[in-house]
Structures are given as C-alpha cells and as structure tokens.
Amino acid sequence: MPSSIDALVERLARNMAQRISRRSFIGGVGALLFGAAGMPLLPVARGESTTPARPDAATDPGDPQSCEYWRHCAIDGFLCGCCGGSGQSCPPGTEHSAVTWVGTCHNPGDGRDYIISYNDCCGKSACGRCLCSRHEDDKPLYVPFRSNDYNWCPGSKVGIAYHCTVARIVGVAK
C-alpha cells in the first residue's frame, strides 16, 4: 500500500476523532476484548511469550503432540509442541506469525466446536519433527482464509522461513 494513502487515512481519522466524543470509543473496545463472563475472546497479543495452558484430560482429551489430537483437525506442518514450543506457543527465537488462517475443530471431550488459529512460527528452517498433514474442511489456495497449503510465514516480519505450526483456541463456535 502506498504510504501516502496510509498517511491520508491517519489524517482523516484524526479529523474525525476531533469531532466525536470519546465515550462510545471505550465501550466499543471493551466489548471487543472481553465477553460477558470476562473471559478474553479475541487475543490481541502478537508474538509475545505466554505461559502455555495445561490441558485437562477430560475436557481436552488426547496427546497434544500427536497428529490425531482433536485441535489438529486441519493442521499442515510440524507441531510446535515437538519443537520447543507448545500447541499455543512458538519455540524460542521464532516469530509467531499473526497473519494466518482460522478453522474449526470438534472437541470430543466436551462436544464443542472450537475456533482454532493455526499460526506459523517463522524465522528458522524446518523443525523437522512431528510432521502432520490433515485436511478437515480446508479449501484450495484460491480460498486463502481456509487454506493450509500456504506457508503462512509471509505475513510475518522475519520472512518466510517456516519452522512449525501452533493450534490456538481463539473462540467457541458452538
């Protein structure tokens, strides 16, 4: 995008902000980040390290380092859990690529359909372990937001060196 357009947008936005009160702005952001029960629904953090959540065997069955794990229903790549990361976190020194594709997997433990974000960890060559290629309800390259045959590292800052893939829960569909 030409930077002149971005500068234009910024100027327009500032112009608008001066004309509108701030109260409605705060309400909007609050509704975005937290659902009714106060649980975060749309994680905004990008690439920062987090403490990986520990699955409860009853509601989150299966081995997170296996291809058959329920969250891996449409994963295509190396499982970061075998590479020094986890199902939610990237291995040290790799960049969690925010741009990716988002799918849905059914959890047999609690019967829910979870929204899963398959982010790639980038900046290093292949982890080479736990290669897993599953295609539940994914689409060809011409439907990019449903396609796992893209290397999703191009959206990262560090570039297209693909290392591994995580499978993060970002919501509950039903």
């Binding site: 900046g123 060559s125 292949a126 060809p140 011409y142 290397n151 959206g155 570039g159 297209i160």
Partner: protein
C-alpha cells in the same frame, strides 16, 4: 541412447591420447597401469530426449536448499541438478530450448535477512546460471504446483503468482529479460495460460479472473466470469492440466470440470465424473498433490486415486487411472508399486509415466502403453513434489 553421446569430447580426446601412449610403451603385453585422468565436467546433449524429467524438490525439511534433479527416464540415471533456493516450486523448460527458467528466493542470511526474489536463467547444456532477473519479493510460498508459475503460450512472458497475503501476478519479459510489472489479482489465485497474451486465475467465489496482456506484457483487460463451481460444496483442486485449448480440473468429489479457452474468454464445458456410482460407493477418490497429468497426443488424462473419506483427498494413491478425455471413459488402470502423490507423463508416442511423493525420496517410472513398472531412481532428493517434462 548410447552412453557415449553424453561424454565431453575433450575428455574422449585425452583418453585416446593416453591409450596411444600406453600402447606405444607397453607393446604386445597390454596395460601396465591405468591411464591418468584429467579433470572434466560433463555437459548435457544440446537437446533433451522426450524421456527426460525434471524432479523438482522443494526440500521441505531444509527449505532454503531447493533442488531440481534431471533424470533420464530410460536409463534411470541422474544427469544433473540445479540448486534453486528457498521454497522452491519448479523449473520451466521453454520448448525453444537452450535455457531453463527457475523462479528462486534467497535470503541474505539463509533463513532471514533481506529477501531477494529472482528468475534465474540456466544454460540447458551446462546447467549453469547465465542470467538473473530480479522480481518483487512476493512469490507465493506454497506446496509446489504447476499453477504457481507459467509461460504465456508464445513463451515470451513468465507469470508468477504472488501472495503476501495480498494476491498479484508478476510478469517478466523473458525475451528482454526484464521485469515488466505486477498485476493486481485481489481475491484470485494462480496462473493458467490460455494464449500468447492471456491467462486465468481462480477466485475465492468459484469464478475465474481472465487477464489479457498488452503486447508489451502490461495489463490490457480483466474480466471476471460467473462462478463455475460451488466452492463450499465441491471445489476443484488447483492442479488443473491442459489438453490443447482446454484446462481440466478435478473436484474434491471427483467431478471433472473442463475449461475451454476461446477468443471470447474461458468457457465452462459440461462436467463429467471420474468415478462411477459404484466406485464412489467404494470410496474411490483422487489423491495426492500434483495428481493429474495429460498425454497430449493420445488425449488421455492420468489421475492418482485411492480409497478413503473426504478428508483423505491429499493422501497418497496406490493406482493411476487413465481416461480418454474425448469419450470421457476410463481406459486403463496402472497399479503403483509404491504410493504416490505426484505424476507426469512424457509427451512422445511411447510415453513414460513418472511418479513420486514428497514423503519418499525416489522416482518411479512406468511404461504407459503396457502399464508395466520399469524402474525406480533412488535415493533421489528429499521431498520431490513436482515433475516437469521438457
């Protein structure tokens, strides 16, 4: 083909001289010792045989180190190799001969640093780079497929699909060896040429975007067709193959969608099934990665198949079914010795079927007419993914 035809003439001259020297010193008793051997570098013959195949290896486990292996299908010998950089898709071999084109990606520090995308031009007999054209560092990094890059029908322009994730097409003039420009292709993917200045891409709503270029390779016109598939219910795979003026695409559920290039644009022709009701009931479906191939002369379509549920459509197949495109009937079944994911067919009158899989480092070769397994070339590469015949 005689083995000697591949030898460097200089090397033969040296050998003859050495023999003559030995004969003159050793007399009637024969050799006293083996002759000294000067260093030499092989060159390929100036023209490929129809049974050569380029085995393009994307090196998924060592992504910076892509390779293209040249194999002689008749002898099973590896003839040479190209080192082709990051997230390698495949080489393009213009029919005019003499050169090989290879879109390549390099990082200044291997896996990081400054990214540079180029089209490398290799001399086809020496397999050495003789030219390089820099292009926008946006080439799509995907599982290898033919639709990622293509030459226009007159081989003047090279088209490359970009994904950043913004979608566009890079156009390179291979005659002047210059980057021409980048054409926006929002919402549409890949490049399928239909003429000397035209190609189509497939859009996310199941329509086609038909792009016409000016004579200089810039954008002349964009036309969107109506949707030809239901993307939600039964999309086609990207691995279409071309027979004359018609592109043949297979859907997830085995429906064959012919797309014919006409003066007006691209027309969807009536579809036909790759599987009978009985075969569908037995869960036969297409499998693999680059799972279709065409033999132009006989009008035959080759398709990797296996039995499995819908989510198995990218799994390897154990058979290749051959269809007569004109009559839309299955004509032949070729059983695979090993499970395969990518196939290609030579375009001569005694064609060979080449087959490989990213999961295995080998190339299998079959005789098409008899369906007979001939030979395997192994070990070969790391994750061979796309087969290209010259």
């Amino acid at each position: 083909m005689a083995h000697g035809s591949g030898m460097n003439r200089t090397r033969r001259a040296w050998a003859r001289a050495a023999l003559a020297l030995m004969a003159s010193t050793c007399g009637a008793r024969g050799w006293a010792q083996l002759p000294a051997e000067p260093p030499a570098v092989e060159q390929l013959p100036s023209k490929p045989t129809p049974h050569w195949v380029w085995v393009n290896d994307t090196s998924f486990f060592a992504y910076p180190d892509g390779r293209a292996f040249l194999v002689d299908g008749d002898s099973g010998k590896m003839l040479g190799m190209l080192s082709t950089g990051f997230s390698f898709n495949g080489v393009l071999v213009p029919k005019a001969g003499g050169v090989i084109y290879s879109p390549e990606i390099y990082f200044s520090r291997g896996t990081r640093g400054t990214r540079t995308d180029v089209v490398t031009i290799y001399d086809a007999t020496r397999l050495e780079p003789v030219g390089e054209i820099e292009i926008p560092p946006k080439r799509a990094s995907i599982l290898p497929m033919a639709g990622a890059q293509a030459l226009t029908d007159d081989e003047r322009f090279l088209l490359i699909y970009n994904f950043t994730p913004a979608q566009s097409v890079t156009v390179v003039d291979m005659r002047s060896r210059k980057f021409v420009g980048e054409i926006e292709a929002a919402g549409c993917a890949l490049v399928y040429p239909t003429g000397p200045r035209s190609f189509f891409s497939i859009c996310g709503d199941g329509a086609l975007l038909v792009t016409t270029l000016t004579d200089a390779g810039t954008l002349a016109r964009h036309v969107r067709t109506a949707a030809f598939i239901d993307v939600v219910k039964d999309p086609v795979t990207e691995k279409g193959v071309r027979w004359r003026d018609t592109w043949l695409f297979a859907s997830f559920e085995g429906v064959l969608h012919p797309l014919r290039a006409t003066a007006a644009g691209v027309e969807a022709e009536p579809t036909w099934p790759l599987f009978t009701q009985q075969e569908l009931a037995q869960h036969w479906r297409t499998g693999g990665l680059n799972h279709l191939a065409v033999h132009g002369g006989s009008g035959r379509l080759f398709s990797i198949v296996h039995q499995g549920g819908p989510e198995t459509r990218e799994e390897l197949g154990e058979e290749v079914w051959v269809y007569d495109v004109a009559s839309r009937k299955k004509a032949q079944t070729i059983a695979m010795r090993n499970k395969v994911g990518s196939i290609q067919v030579s375009q001569d009158d005694h064609p060979l079927l080449f087959a490989c899989a990213m999961e295995a480092n080998r190339l299998d070769i079959y005789d098409v007419t008899s369906g007979r397994y001939l030979r395997t070339v192994e070990p070969l590469g790391q994750t061979p993914a796309l087969l290209v015949t010259p």
